[in-house]
Subunit: 238 residues, 2 copies
Amino acid sequence: MDAKFTGHISKQFNSDMDGLKNHILMMGGAVENQVLNAVKSLVEADSELAAQVRVTEKQINSMELSLDEECARVLALRQPAASDLRMVIAISKTITDLERIGDEAKKIAKLAILLVETGQSPRGYFEAKHIGAHVAGMVHDALDAFARLDVDMALKVAQEDRSVDAEYESAMRQLVTFMMEDPRSISRVLNVLWALRALERIGDHARNISEHVIYLVKGTDVRHANLEQVKSQMAGNF
Amino acid sequence: MDAKFTGHISKQFNSDMDGLKNHILMMGGAVENQVLNAVKSLVEADSELAAQVRVTEKQINSMELSLDEECARVLALRQPAASDLRMVIAISKTITDLERIGDEAKKIAKLAILLVETGQSPRGYFEAKHIGAHVAGMVHDALDAFARLDVDMALKVAQEDRSVDAEYESAMRQLVTFMMEDPRSISRVLNVLWALRALERIGDHARNISEHVIYLVKGTDVRHANLEQVKSQMAGNF
């Protein structure tokens, strides 16, 4: 195989890898927007925006399918090794997390429509707005960490997930108290509660993405390890 | 490359693929058991069994990590093509769904412990038992479909998911009515409600697995398609 041919192959390979990276970041941007719009539609009782989220969800599903195909094609034709193979695997897992985030955003939009139809629920919007902004930021940072292969930022996202969990627990307790005080509000408050739970799951998926980044950069699989273990492993690697 | 060497490579390759298939089915069996035990611990208020589910969850997490590594190794060393590549991709996605099912089972076990500690909740156990048996059956059938590459059985699992969703919705309505009638029970009934939601998600993951089987056998990606579309596509393929 002469040098020119090898050069051609590796150029093609790099352009395939760049394509994959660009497309996952595009999907990520679209999903981040979905989260922001879903929360906005809930907090501002905007059923038109909610309907738009549900339409865009279909586009995100197509992105998932075509990115999955792209991964399979790169694996089959380019047979990447070492860090490139890790990149394709990390992208393939990130696709799934992004699609699930899109799913949760769609659920929130559905709840927004329901809440507009049945009259607004009197509580929980403040919490939804706050936690919503928090998890949307996590999705953004996780993707940023992916784009820059920034392990520190990825670790930060994993830490954020803990405070989201705490915020969620405290919001839940408030809503339960509220339901007890006013049982007629139960159905409506439950819908707010489902929305908060969807947001909490979005935080989990952002954390998953940040873990794929760490795996990618460090070759360390940090799922199921706690943060202290991860940090000490990272420190050992520097 | 002489025939002996090729034979050696392909023998090694087949044994790698068989290893992967066996290991995913082993993980599947363990996860199915987790679902059954988690539901049993909830329905029978057995906190010892619930504690055991939480311990076994850690083993399932290790299975996930080692199976993921096994997939990466097969991709890197064997560079499978066509249907073998599809098999590795399907296994890799199934690993994620199985791990998530294990997660949901752990949540149910946690709720079982909580319910034992705070006194039993008066309602919703019958529904949990019924839906629990239903989704455990779906996990079993999805894995069976995987083992036998049985598309018909996989389609059946996807259909089952619809009736689980309907059962879940109806149970939810009953529990909401019950909370309204007896607001003091709200916290406890909410815990039953979270358990039902976890079961509903297990059904979703079983459906995902059955879709990986269809992708594997037919090369058709059926995610995000509705059942009628899938069936007509399948019919066209026969």
